[in-house]
Amino acid sequence: MSSAPTDHPFSVPRYPSGQPCPEAPEHLLVTQGTEAALRGTLAAQLGAVPVSHLALPDFPHQAALQAALRARLDAAPAGLRLELHGDEAFIWPLHALARQAGLQADEILLHCDASGSRRVFCVHCANCQPAGASAHLTCAHCGVVLEVRRHFSQRLGAYLGVCADADQPYQEIQP
């Protein structure tokens, strides 16, 4: 048993997370953008496997997309593969929904737009909020200056934010 040394923390997801499955009875693609070309590329790659696509811009809001995904999954057979494209704040709530609907983690492929928004969970007030790539942010709910840890909760779809300086929890971070 040997494991290569890595600075990739265990909980932090890797993207993309797998390959499309040519044995699946059905492939469902969900994208944050329009991604018109993506469906074609995937369909070409998968041959006879039917590919369907839900794109956020076709829905009035995220909740409507989620409801549509939920309805699709409730009617889907085991073996269906789901592919999610978007930033972390977009894909992880859908991931949680799909796991709830009965998909196994390795039946969900994740492609992440790293430049987009991610979510941070403040351990002090237990709220989630959107954040950029910066290692620090001020919690929008309780005002504590947070250091964003490299620890990801799949359940929350968020990184852990912990008080950056316990002696001065409300002070701006000095550059």
Binding site: E23, P25, L73, D74, A78, L80, Q104, D106
Partner: protein, 309 residues
Amino acid sequence: MSALLDVRVAAIRELTPVIREYRLEALGGALPGFSAGSHVQLHLPNGRRNAYSLLGDPADTRQYRIAVRQQEASRGGSRYLHQQLRAGDVLRLSAPANLFPLHSEARKHLLVAAGIGITPFLAHSRELLRQGADFELHYAYRAGVSDAYLAELRQLLGPRLAEYPAGQRRLDPAALLRGRPLGSHVYACGPQSLLLDLKEQAAAQGWSDRRVHWEAFAAPEPGQPFRVELARSGRQLEVGADQSLLEALEANGVEIPNLCRGGVCGQCQTPYLKGDVEHRDHFLAAAERSNSLMPCVSRGCGSPILLDI
């Protein structure tokens, strides 16, 4: 290793001409509780240790029940149980361990049994009924030979039981799995060929391995005798034709951690340095086979094996 339990054979019941049920009760006090899918290892006076599923209701800890099929190619375990063991005899058991639990995320459980592979599903069925879970039991058997508990199951499960009597209706894994809802998990216990077929069909329909759970109940198959050397002590052992390497090591006082004794759990993984090995396990990845073996099922097949212990 956890402590061994002493039990008395309270009753023996013939279920079919080749399958018998043994009720085991504690010599003193209650037996440890177990979860559905658990097995125990029987330590037989002839040195064999075989694993058997506990088929009783997990809620009942006054007694354990196991069922044993007399194997034609018995290496001594099932033959001993069928021919020599009597009610009133005392046996030693290891405490229950579970390598075949129900999956907590499953919304629908498909249980697939062939012959004596029915045993873990008797406990699972009771547990699933208690939970009010959605499940089906698919049972392939040979009428009058390997159809143990059929009447009991019909009564208990009604339409949840699907029967496949040999020669009348074939169990077709592809059809069984097709079009199942997303929360489905399949559990199989039976001969090798059934397990492989199910795994293959599940993969062919895009199912993740994580939806497929199985237990190989078969005891290790006999083979040719072979030689083993222990690198650290320089000791040499001869493994008999109807003995497993694990049994030979134990007979020589070398204890290796083990649970299933059937090449599936991974507990007994042991490094080796050289020799020709016939692996026979379901645990090791191809790359690991060049330097690890599972002594509960692996055998030598040529030059002696040098174990790194």
